[in-house]
């Protein structure tokens, strides 16, 4: 079976100062898939998402979007607007919840987004907080606003950095359902960073394991969990790798 590749990493080495935090010779993200990215704290997961979103330029190597290498400087705006990230920290603006959710529409010059804002707020269960100042929200509420703010744009690629880290189990289920629906019904390509291997198992079609900046394993979800090929993967799955 051949798959259309939407984003690829080629021979990327990324350094902060002298430290190499990412060394990934090759990684392909398939169009329409939900790829989970797991690995211990400090493995480089958030860094990889920043590179995939063209927010940072890798020290060496290329990131390809639809087979073409781009950098943050030369990626055309209309292509840049097809990828978005929900950061690990919600990073809300000091304005109302509704205006936060509407941000991506407003910068695209889309007027009458009201119906879409309402729908986005309803999907994350925050319609009653539409006019609340975002700074008054709880951690979990803020995280849901951040997700709604990304979904409303209907990106081609959605990069999620621990989107359920601050949520209670009921909300985790709601958010997982939203992510799964966006992936399945709207054919959105999703890269989901998570510490929670169970979440990866529930949602992803493929799972990648990042360890100390290296991609040690990438496989179908089932294979990844049942027959991990790398001993470090097995150790991670057993909870033997300390974060």
């Amino acid at each position: 079976m051949t798959h259309e590749i939407i984003l690829s990493v080629r021979n990327v080495r990324h350094q902060y100062g002298e430290r190499v935090v990412l060394d990934v010779p090759r990684l392909d993200v398939r169009k329409g898939e939900l790829l989970a990215l797991v690995g211990p704290s400090g493995a480089g997961k958030s860094t990889l998402l920043r590179l995939l979103n063209f927010l940072e330029k890798p020290t060496q190597g290329d990131i390809l979007f639809h087979q073409t290498p781009y950098t943050p400087e030369n990626l055309p705006l209309h292509l840049r607007r097809r990828i978005t990230t929900v950061f690990q920290k919600p990073m809300l603006l000091d304005m109302s919840v509704r205006r936060n959710v509407a941000y991506g529409l407003r910068v695209r010059g889309e007027r009458d987004g009201r119906a879409r804002e309402d729908a986005a707020l309803r999907s994350v269960g925050l319609q009653d907080l539409a006019n609340a100042p975002a700074r008054t929200l709880s951690g979990g509420e803020a995280q849901r606003v951040a997700l709604a703010r990304a979904l409303i744009i209907e990106p081609e690629v959605l990069l999620l950095d621990e989107p359920t880290a601050n949520l209670d189990p009921a909300n985790v289920r709601i958010i997982e359902a939203i992510i799964a629906r966006a992936n399945r019904e709207r054919a959105m390509t999703v890269v989901l960073v998570t510490h929670n291997v169970w979440q990866a198992r529930r949602l992803a079609q493929r799972v990648a394991f990042l360890y100390e900046g290296q991609l040690l394993e990438i496989a179908d979800t089932r294979t990844f969990f049942e027959h991990p090929s790398h001993p470090k993967t097995a150790a991670f799955l057993h909870g033997d790798l300390v974060y």
């Binding site: 920043r50 979103n53 927010l55 705006l77 840049r80 607007r81 990828i83 978005t84 990230t85 950061f87 920290k89 990073m91 603006l93 000091d94 304005m95 109302s96 205006r99 941000y103 991506g104 910068v107 695209r108 703010r149 990304a150 744009i153």
Partner: protein
């Protein structure tokens, strides 16, 4: 004690009757300081945003210079502007000395570093991740800058208030480069100095009250603006 009470009484009289001499001075003060503030904002806010966001070689030198500019002694600025604008000076041909333009120039030099410095500090305090988040949501650099200005609005308004406060109440430089010429370059502060020397306390007190009222009103307007922005 009488001298003060009488002075205040007469001052109120002048204010109530909208004394033309008084109005002229107030109008010139507002126009001159308003122009200087406007120039400082138009140049200083974009510059402050840029300095707050960019990391470049020599940035520390620029920042130190800006901070030094925030504490420039007005008489030194007055002296420098005087020398530049004097007939033999490099800008002597402009013929600006002892005109309102000279005052605007001196006041701009005093207000600009305050506007740049405080705006820069407010913008630099915004987490870098927020800039990435906005970019990731599809904002152009211009849109990002505007959003950051909004996020840093309390600091930016403080920058404007500080700039206005510094120049509306300034006397040394204005006296030196404006010359306190009646009907031409006489502003609130220089008029207060003159009237006090002449012993015309009524006019001096009236001018002083207006100066306080102006500063108060300016700050009030800024705070109201901030509250309106906050409730969006």
């Amino acid at each position: 004690m009488d001298i003060i009470l009488d002075g205040v009484k007469q001052a109120i009289g002048l204010l109530i009757h909208l004394d033309p001499a008084l109005l002229e001075i107030v109008a010139l003060s507002l126009v001159v300081s308003g122009a200087a503030l406007l120039i400082s904002m138009l140049v200083g806010i974009p510059l402050g945003v840029w300095l707050g966001l960019r990391r470049f070689l020599g940035r520390r030198l620029v920042v130190t210079t800006v901070y030094t500019g925030m504490g420039l002694p007005p008489v030194v600025v007055g002296l420098a502007v005087y020398l530049f604008l004097s007939r033999q000076g490099p800008l002597g041909e402009l013929g600006w000395l002892f005109t309102p333009k000279a005052i605007v120039l001196a006041q701009t030099i005093l207000a600009l570093p305050l506007v740049v410095g405080i705006t820069m500090t407010a913008i630099a305090a915004i987490p870098r991740e927020l800039v990435l988040q906005l970019r990731s949501l599809g904002a152009t650099q211009g849109q990002i800058n505007r959003t950051l200005l909004y996020e840093a609005r309390a600091g930016v308004l403080a920058a404007i208030v500080a700039g206005f406060g510094a120049i509306i109440s300034e006397v040394g430089a204005v006296m030196m480069v404006g010359g306190n010429i009646e009907h031409k370059t006489r502003v609130l502060t220089t008029a207060i100095v003159l009237e006090t020397r002449k012993g015309d306390f009524a006019l001096a007190i009236a001018l002083g009250l207006i100066l306080l009222a102006l500063t108060f009103t300016a700050n009030w307007l800024m705070l109201s603006l901030q509250r309106r922005l906050d409730s969006r």
